[in-house]
Symmetry: C2
Subunit: 462 residues, 2 copies
């Protein structure tokens, strides 16, 4: 029998006797047994869901089922009340939509507590993986004056007055008077900057917020998300694929080892959700089975050209079930095609590589065939694209030709081109959308539920 | 004798024989001895500073002094040339100003390689410290719709056209048509959001980019910097000071253990810099001595009131050497006063606490005296303020009064006030400017030199 002193929040209180207390550190509550006959009625009334309390008592083996230990309370102090009528987080099941509107409180529920602890542990796994292997963490800038990345629509960052900003002689907004003396945006990728560091430090990685001003109101897109971008000198595309696969397996394994209780809870949650669905829509595997499946199987590596053949000859293509019919090499793959490959044909994570140059970014290395580039995408069941990467074009002239072809001003990229002018070498890297990884590991289906305060079109609350 | 195969960049090449190779993983080069008589003249010419090379050879104990091992080269391949005339990073000492203009290449120098490796290890130490203690890492949003933080000038984030944005009936810019449907800015602090998480998960921390649109062109300010913000439920200000001191000592010790070679190099660099100064301006301690001093001594904890007394009676105050003379309680301390306390009077890191309410933020807990708040700042020699923190005002009514007094709309902070409405409790936290920590640990003096691509007024290059 140990005397203990604990503080936390009331999750439930029943029979004036059993208080389920949680301090946020783990998913399980500790049962605190109140000696209600010797506790003032006034205090008992204040033991409501959400109230903060300080408890003193004795930790003993529990008489009841459901827990090994419990606290026999000798003293309870109400630190902060929580009006039972007003408190939005009632002890019942709330919809995920309702919880999103209360993003500041939803983390007090079991589901969101578990998600956010798993997210945190996954973040640490990311750093652990790279630091243990001698990678240097690089904080690439969030505010960028470079608009040549071409990865998507950008948000403008400005300190000029919104109304009647200063204009120059041509009648255009005069950005020379803005904070940075030029037009600036929020970064869509730290890759180009990370490349300059890889060409000095060898192995580097970024892990920071990234932005897209795209009006995509889907369950897979955020306007602000966290991205991991390793970049390695002397790695070719094969080494890059090896790194990505090894990395993903490591962080999933790490979360499974460090968060068994949270993942067991999320596993059960998903099974219960599944039971409500018609049989045909239920998952073949539980969450934990899916995670183990990824760890135990090699990702299928398939060239774009092979993938096109598979898709062309697929049932949904022949029966015109795809919205976009695949009829020739060169087509950009849509989400429906990626899902078919991953969820129907291979039933496994897939790495697609060697894409047509025309549908990929300028910095990817051109193959000798003159029409494909050393790009790779990793596709996950239920998630879609989780990684996009490539071997970079290290040859100055080839890169310059491509830049000119696209009408990008070389002067904008003088510093990027310098890495090819001075001591250039084969190098590769990839970007992994951190929230998509968290989605996969937690079994959630809407990306808004795996980041504390999601930013999406029409929503920047909190 | 081991056969080895290495890739890296040429740092120097002398006597057609001794090639100093570096792959960025450590500060030391490996000496590669070229059999120049059996190497084509054409190849020898291409072994220039900055060139990328692949070397095969035998690792043997070195005959020469200065290194234990060397590689006797059996084959060398030039992967990427570096024109000796054009390469900006000549094998000589460059000014820090010149290197800042070449931020994409400066990391190829010994100094910046060392700084960036130390920075990376310090980042990992931050995560290690908190994760080992059960803190949950929280990614608070970078784009914020909340303008009540009041920590400084903000950058606006927008997807509206800069020229002729849509206007509403009042003739004002119509932010309802902007991406988020309202005016948004770059965050100046994740504290308020972190508080909501601490009141659910107990112990949390943020570590992410933070922004100030202030026109401060000093060696201590950046427009974009990384901040660490732990927040702990049930911690009072004393526990908060303990946490901050323990945390800072941990990360410094961690860097000293993991980066002995880089820190020894930076230590020597600083000693050499010091020798060039007049005797009176030289440091009393070397960099490593300073770091050890911080580890081995308690930070001095001094109330604001005591500090004012010390300052009032100080020589520079009496002799009117301070720009701002301290004549009464309530004065805001300037950098000159902080430096006097830390560098002259105490000669130690100092924690100042219990500041006048009037000069501190609205969310800090009011003391019973009705005029001071439970705030604390940690001041470091040579750096100034490195930490600012407080116990938070957990009482709803007191907080509401303060908010109303300041003319802040309560509706703006409805979610923040909810944490005081439902299960409020004592809690505390602090913010630590990561670059100031890196400054201190590396012994650099300009904050632009400890972040890869600094953002300052008129500068968003790369």
């Amino acid at each position: 029998m140990d005397e203990v002193s604990v503080k936390g929040w009331v999750r439930t209180f029943r029979s004036k006797r059993f208080l389920a207390l949680n301090d946020g550190s783990v998913i399980h509550n500790i049962q605190c047994v109140i000696d209600f006959e010797n506790t003032p009625e006034e205090t008992l009334k204040r033991i409501t869901t959400g109230a903060a309390v300080a408890i003193q008592g004795n930790l003993v083996e529990s008489q009841g089922s459901g827990q090994k230990y419990e606290i026999q309370v000798t003293n309870i102090e109400i630190l902060g009340d929580s009006d039972a009528e007003d408190y939005p987080m009632q002890p019942k099941k709330h919809s995920l939509e309702f919880l999103r509107e209360n993003a500041h409180l939803r983390v007090r529920t079991n589901v969101f507590g578990a998600i956010m602890r798993v997210r945190s542990v996954l973040s640490f796994a990311v750093h652990h993986y790279f630091q243990d292997r001698g990678f240097v963490y690089v904080n690439t800038p969030v505010i960028t004056g470079s608009d040549a990345e071409g990865a998507g629509e950008m948000f403008r960052v400005t300190a000029l007055p919104a109304q009647n900003p200063p204009v120059n002689e041509e009648g255009k907004v005069d950005y020379t008077q803005d904070f940075f003396g030029k037009e600036t945006n929020l970064t869509v990728s730290g890759q180009l900057e990370a490349e300059t560091y890889a060409m000095a430090l060898g192995q580097v990685y970024t892990f920071g917020p990234t932005f897209r001003a795209e009006n995509s109101n889907t369950s897979r897109h955020l306007a602000e998300f966290w991205m991991i971008e390793p970049e390695v000198a002397f790695n070719d595309l094969d080494a890059n694929m090896d790194l990505a696969e090894d990395f993903i397996k490591y962080v999933i394994r790490y979360a499974m080892e460090k968060c068994p209780e949270d993942l067991t809870f999320l596993n059960q949650r998903l099974q219960e959700e599944d039971k409500k669905k018609p049989a045909a829509e239920r998952s073949e595997m539980t969450l934990l089975e899916k995670l183990r499946f990824v760890l135990e199987n090699n990702f299928k590596r398939v060239s774009y050209t092979e993938a096109i053949d598979i898709l062309k000859n697929s049932k949904p293509n022949k029966k015109k079930k795809f919205k976009y019919i695949i009829d020739e090499w060169g087509a950009d793959l849509q989400s429906e095609h990626e899902r078919y490959l991953v969820e129907k044909h291979f039933n496994s994570p897939v790495i697609l590589f060697d894409y047509p140059a025309d549908i990929k970014a300028f910095y990817m290395r051109l193959n000798d065939d003159g029409k494909t580039v050393r790009a790779m995408d990793i596709l996950f069941p239920g998630i879609g694209e989780i990684v996009g990467g490539s071997q970079r074009e290290e040859r100055l002239e080839v890169l310059q030709d491509k830049i000119n072809e696209l009408g990008i001003d070389e002067k904008e990229l003088w510093w990027y081109l310098d890495t090819r002018r001075f001591g250039t070498a084969v190098h590769s890297g990839f970007g992994l959308g951190f929230e998509r990884l968290v989605l996969f590991v937690t079994g959630m289906t809407n990306i808004r539920d795996v980041i504390p305060f999601p930013r999406t079109p029409q929503n920047a609350d909190f």
